[in-house]
Subunit: 454 residues, 2 copies
């Protein structure tokens, strides 16, 4: 099948072969077809399947499909989508298409969209959906089950019944579908399920915090409430999984020093990729230029003792490596709430001896290497080789200790000034440590070798 | 409360205050108490809550608690735990405690444990649970619901009914609890729910692949079948979330060059931490020593042209940074199945021009910097400064191109030889690129400056 030239007639054929495919597979099939042709296939699919495919966040370029659908068709599909995915779609749509669609959908959908779009996408309010089952506390299990059967829509999952106070409508209790099924039908909802107060979040709760709560309490959904305790929506477990996978990709990219990509590596354009990588690379390059400045400063020492230059890469990289290690440990400890911002001094007190211990290990290896080469005759480090070895070892202790300290403190500094601690990339830490590492090395060498080599 | 000296009398008080806490919070409370005291609190908790707390993977040192419980109490608790968490526990128990408990539990539990322990913990078989509801295809919705109510246990979640052929017991259909509740009670199970063939895995499917399927198809659980199509167990969504969070931590640690930690950073002992970091740090240090060897080789050039040494850190770090970027992009693209092992040549063909483009950008900045400092009189790079600038720029193109290529190919090589591609840490890539970077720099410099400086 040549996807690029899919005719209307073929669209119906493709749609027919997709009819028994799973929603996510339909989304994947649409991903590899050109948007105009994919829009035709979407229009030819059974309505329910089309809606479920549109509800898949895996469907890339969802917004572009809508530019190729008739306004009528688009409005009906949008009306049937789940509220959270619909909100996501509208965030991606070009302003003109969004305005056109907004005036075409029914009033209820429009109101819901306006409300959900008012929350930032990084909050629980921004990723919540509003399809949830609410029942007053006075209802019995039987009445609730009857009601669920009456209003159920085939495309929308039901995880739990949210029980509200019949007078002030505040959320007072949550009964899972399983608890409801197993319960005596004559009991009231308040008599069923977990007695403990329900876990809730507010619309302004960070979405990562909502994800953390769902993971911690093994929930299928967490209710989102307003200041008055009224239920506004729910954040579901599949949103959490999608958020976790996305976050993991971002973490790895950031740690490698790449700006957040919005598309998969295989589909991103060459120009965008160069921009996303070039920005950081240039910033790091400009900072790293300070190493040249630092070395210019020590030019006198360098020309008198060429032997010192041999160990520059070794010492600098050790500082960078120990810094990367400390940073990656602290980034995850912060993300998992094992440490808090105020624990920075506790970490510093731990990384200081860790750095000294690790630096000493490398220092000993360094002395053995230099002495070995000298004694075995592989290389002649000059008459003061023992002092050179000592300078290298002491510099390693200093540089690795500084690397561990700087690497562990950087995520705290970033969080303190409002950035994601995961922005502390390995290249960032290495650059930070390189300049200081050079200064430490030459200062130590100057002290140790003064009167002999320097 | 001084956790370290919790007496038996206090254990009952603590247990009482925990009675209305959520399972995960009980686990957290037990985490901060000394194992002997925590075991006493556990024994004093209401039985169901104790079992649910033990089912929390967040409960660290679960195995140590069991060493402080009486065999009788331990056997009853183990018997009531969910099959997957129980298997996990037995993997952690010291051999003697495991043997003692195994002989104390009932036959059914023992058989189940033996079966589940036979699968590696990285497979779907190793993380599956065996508490699932099975019904023959001939049953009606009503009969199934009645049966679920009859056999339900309060601690075990029900996500779906797994429908098997009444004759050969093969899995033929899955009905979610929601579909069951909404269905006409007189229908048979085969007439209810999704007509598409169920998504399944085998016991040997990698657990990350099981997680990927659950995430992709928005499932609450995926059935695990044997070669004959018989249901052996299910992998549930909360296992997937736990696996994702754990994997993310491992990825970040590995990318930072730290060996996998088994405990949180805050609770790991100083000695273990030094070991986990020291191993990689020493390995990298030993490899990085090749830079000293490479520089010894170019000692003649170095002593004739000290000016070249000024740019060593700058050029080396640029290679390492571009390598880290490429590696982090490819690690995630491989993890998300955006690229496959056989696509390596496609990636190489893409990274080659990307490296040249990025290297050229840095090269131009480098020339501007050297020319600027020279012309403005900040520093004198000698009479051949323009040639020096040219050598630096060309070396940057070469080193960044090599870095991008090596960084992008390393994850493929690691996967090919059977390692996790995420082991390609930023420090690993930097070290790989450093030695080659030096050789590229001095070779380029030799060609450009021959007859003038060299």
């Amino acid at each position: 099948m040549d996807d690029r030239q899919l005719e209307a007639r073929d669209a119906a054929t493709v749609a027919h072969t997709l009819e028994r495919a799973h929603d996510a597979d339909v989304a994947e099939a649409l991903n590899v077809i050109d948007p105009p042709a994919a829009a035709r296939v979407l229009a030819a699919l059974p309505f329910d399947l089309a809606v479920r495919a549109l509800n898949q966040p895996e469907l890339d370029r969802r917004a572009r499909l809508f530019e190729h659908l008739s306004t009528d068709k688009a409005a009906v599909l949008v009306g049937a989508m789940s509220a959270d995915q619909r909100t996501d779609l509208f965030r991606e749509l070009p302003e003109r298409t969004a305005a056109r669609l907004l005036s075409a959908v029914d009033t209820g959908t429009r109101e819901s969209l306006r409300a959900l779009l008012s929350y930032p996408p990084t909050t629980a309010g921004g990723i919540m959906t509003t399809e949830h089952v609410v029942a007053p506390a006075t209802w019995t299990v039987e009445r609730t089950l009857t009601q669920i059967r009456a209003v159920a829509q085939p495309r929308r999952p039901v995880y739990a019944v949210y029980v509200v106070d019949p007078v002030d409508r505040r959320l007072v209790h949550v009964v899972t579908l399983r608890e409801l099924v197993l319960a005596d039908p004559t009991l009231t909802l308040l008599e069923v399920g977990d007695r403990r107060p329900p876990v809730t979040v507010t619309v302004w709760t960070d979405r990562e915090e909502a994800a953390r709560l769902i993971a911690k309490y093994d929930l299928l959904a967490v209710p989102v409430i307003d200041e008055g305790g009224h239920l506004l929506g729910i954040v579901t477990v599949d949103d959490v999984i999608d958020a976790l996978v996305k976050e993991q990709t971002e973490d790895v990219h950031k740690l490698g020093g790449v700006q957040e990509l919005d598309e998969p590596y295989t589909r991103i354009s060459f120009g965008t990729m160069i921009r996303k990588r070039g920005g950081w690379l240039c910033a790091l390059f400009l900072s790293e230029m300070l190493t040249a400045t630092a070395m210019q400063h020590f030019e006198g020492e360098l020309s008198r003792a060429i032997v010192l230059t041999l160990f520059i890469p070794l010492i600098m990289s050790s500082g960078g490596n120990s810094g990367s290690q400390a940073t990656s440990l602290i980034i995850r400890a912060l993300a998992l709430r094992e440490v808090r911002l105020r624990d920075w001094w506790w970490i510093a007190l731990r990384e200081l001896p860790a750095g000294i211990a690790l630096g000493s290990i490398l220092g000993v290896i360094g002395i053995v290497r230099i002495a070995g080469w000298q004694i075995l005759g592989f290389y002649d480090y000059g008459p003061h080789w023992l002092l050179v070895a000592l300078a290298v070892a002491l510099a390693l202790v200093g540089v690795v200790t500084f690397g561990s300290l700087a690497g562990s403190m950087l995520p705290f500094v970033l969080r303190r000034v409002g950035f994601d601690p995961a922005s502390a990339s390995a290249p960032f830490v290495a650059t930070l440590v390189d300049v200081t590492g050079l200064v430490i090395y030459f200062t130590v060498a100057y002290v140790v070798l003064r009167g002999t080599l320097l």
